[in-house]
């Protein structure tokens, strides 16, 4: 029997494109895919290359997948130039995803910075769609400025959900900004989320993760109760190409979701 080509992508048509911020677009793809919140796919823009993106919509809200892409490098720039009706290649899903079963009957604290909200949005909407499985939900979402906040039209829905609180913050005071001001770790210190029966789920730029972890520990979260979803340059997605390891753990295969206890020795 021929071995299947693990590098060959499936074809997917872009069915919708939403401009989230000046440099972030959310692409909706026509593709049937079985996945868990927190998993990612390798996106192929033919002729340009591949890049990994987390799936940002909840599997409870199919069909199709959504990926939010910040225009940063060669592949993302090419992706931003695509239109509805264009075709991309998708490999995956890869990675472990969030341990949703272990989150049941827990208070859940989401801590997101910038585009780090993308993988959390998949889980947030998953939790809201199965609201009775979880206790309180707290979302702390920060960005450099209000222009950099993503999924803005979902905030009112999240705020209205049962036993759910949303804290929005920007780094510096702006005109017409009525929510919080300050970096994410400072906001956590102010709101003091409950740590009993709680799991904190953190995703954001490396600098935010670095300063958020000590605050969560101080608030009483144990390293096992802090989950983070990490990103590195994941090329193959299958633990072979050798780039994305943190210690012996491959982010693409063993992660991208890790407990802080698993990676704290290697996140310097």
């Amino acid at each position: 029997m021929e071995t299947k080509n693990i590098y060959l992508p499936r074809l997917a048509e872009i069915t919708d494109i939403k401009q989230e911020t000046p440099d972030i677009k959310t692409f909706k793809l026509k593709l049937s895919l079985v996945y868990k919140p927190g998993q990612f796919v390798e996106f192929s823009v033919f002729g340009e290359g591949e890049a990994p993106f987390c799936i940002s919509n909840s599997p409870t809200r199919g069909p199709g997948i959504e990926c939010s892409v910040k225009m940063t490098g060669k592949v993302t720039q090419a992706l931003h130039e695509l239109n509805i009706g264009d075709t991309v290649g998708i490999r995956g899903p890869y990675g472990n995803g969030f341990p949703v079963e272990n989150l049941k009957n827990k208070n859940i604290l989401f801590v997101a910075g910038g585009i780090g909200l993308a993988p959390l949005r998949s889980l947030i909407n998953y939790c809201l769609d199965r609201r009775e499985d979880f206790k309180s939900i707290t979302i702390v979402n920060g960005a450099r400025s209000s222009n950099d906040l993503v999924y803005k039209d979902e905030y009112p829905i999240w705020e209205k959900a049962k036993d759910t609180r949303l804290y929005l913050t920007v780094d510096c005071q702006e005109d017409n900004w009525s929510c919080m001001v300050g970096v994410v770790p400072r906001i956590l210190e102010q709101i003091k989320p409950v740590c009993q029966d709680s799991v904190a789920i953190v995703c954001g730029p490396p600098i935010m993760i670095k300063y958020t972890m000590p605050v969560l520990l101080k608030l009483g979260f144990c390293p096992e109760a802090i989950m983070t979803t990490l990103e590195m340059k994941m090329k193959c997605g299958m633990g072979k190409c050798g780039r994305c390891n943190i210690g012996p753990l491959y982010i693409c295969k063993d992660g991208p979701v890790f407990s802080y206890a698993q990676v704290k020795n290697y996140v310097s």
């Binding site: 080509n5 590098y7 060959l8 074809l11 290359g49 591949e50 072979k240 190409c241 012996p248 290697y266």
Partner: protein, 352 residues
């Protein structure tokens, strides 16, 4: 002569319950190899003037070099090509298409592979023939018979015995040749090897058997470098030892290129063809992200990654070191860095 097992594309060779041992005269071995040339590609070490020994597809068996010198490059390029097309993308009737790259259908005999390199293939199997199977690598493995050559005279940079190997090791071999007076003692380990070599030669006589055991015993004693790899390097991850030892490194990457077990790669889409290309942890852009963030920004992190991948991470995942002690990275390093010394001198325990 055709080989039934190879032609049937048996997935992996099955090991024989009991090794077969034969004695073959040099001219008979060459005659046999010549008879294979019609149906097989024969790859073996070849002396190239002013350059050294290289594994090459042989047009004539006369070019085969079965002497003491080592090939400069490993034979890994015949299993993981330095740049290999994986799929094509294109358009058909206005619609996007993707298509597998065709797999070569060439059956091969790779002769003259040293025991360290054959063991390297077993280590690569753990990566490419595991949970996610790389079809091109597996195709290359399936279609190759490995006919090794036991080392007669190890180099001063060899350290295979410290990596649980031996100059006469059989791991990864279908057949292993021991060069003796006027011919070769041939040990046959697998069905593939039996198919190819059992028809020729004769049982070794008592003298030849004695020669073989002496050969096996003595060759290991010729390895000058002997050391024990620390069981767990993680306590010294943050040590400034890595600043110190990586200081001379030029980040040229020759160590990764010449290593029989280094396998890190890049995926590159060029002209709508996706290629898997050699890459290596020595290069700063290996982990450089589009945002400008680089989790391994300096030589310290990059060289540490090389050492940890080989002697800590891989061991934690697969139970053995990702190093076979062939010594190529030592012989060919332009600034004479010696990974065996770096590992054996690593500070014990945590701290600076």
């Amino acid at each position: 002569m055709t080989l039934r097992i190879l032609l049937n594309r048996v997935k992996t060779d099955t090991l024989l319950k009991k090794n077969m041992t034969k004695f073959i005269k040099k001219e008979d071995l060459y005659k046999l190899l010549n008879s294979f040339l019609k149906d097989f590609e024969i790859i073996g070490p070849k002396q190239i003037a002013n350059k050294g020994i290289f594994y090459e597809p042989l047009e004539s068996i006369e070019d085969l070099y079965l002497g003491e010198l080592f090939a400069i490059e490993p034979a890994k390029k015949f299993f993981l090509e330095s740049s290999e097309c994986l799929f094509h993308s294109g358009f058909l009737d206005g619609k996007a298409t993707v298509q597998d790259a065709p797999l070569p259908d060439k059956r091969r005999i790779i002769i003259g592979l040293r025991p360290c390199e054959a063991k390297g293939l077993i280590l690569l199997d753990k990566v490419f023939d595991s949970e996610y199977k790389d079809r091109s690598y597996i195709n290359n493995r399936e279609k190759s018979v490995i006919v090794g050559l036991a080392c007669a005279k190890p180099d001063k940079s060899c350290f295979c015995t410290s990596m649980d190997g031996s100059p006469t090791g059989s791991r990864g071999m279908d057949v292993l040749l021991f060069a003796v007076e006027d011919g070769f003692i041939v040990e046959i380990y697998s069905d593939k090897g039996k198919e190819a070599f059992s028809s020729l030669g004769k049982e070794p006589d008592e003298h030849q058997n004695k020669t073989l055991s002496a050969y096996k015993q003595k060759r290991s004693e010729l390895i000058g470098k002997n050391f024990k790899v620390p069981g767990d390097l993680s306590p010294i991850f943050e040590s400034d030892y890595w600043d110190k030892v990586s200081f001379p490194c030029l980040s040229c990457g020759v160590c990764t290129y010449l290593c029989p077990t280094c396998h890190c790669f890049e995926l590159v889409d060029e002209g709508r063809k996706m290629y898997r290309c050699n890459d290596g942890c020595a290069f700063s852009n290996f982990t450089l992200e589009a945002s400008g963030w680089n989790p391994r920004p300096t030589k310290k992190e990059r060289y540490r990654q090389r050492v940890f991948h080989k002697f800590d991470y891989f061991k934690k995942i697969f139970g053995e070191n990702l190093c076979v002690g062939c010594g190529r990275c030592i012989r060919h390093c332009p600034v004479k860095m010696d990974i065996s010394e770096i590992v054996s001198n690593a500070p014990s325990g945590a701290g600076k």
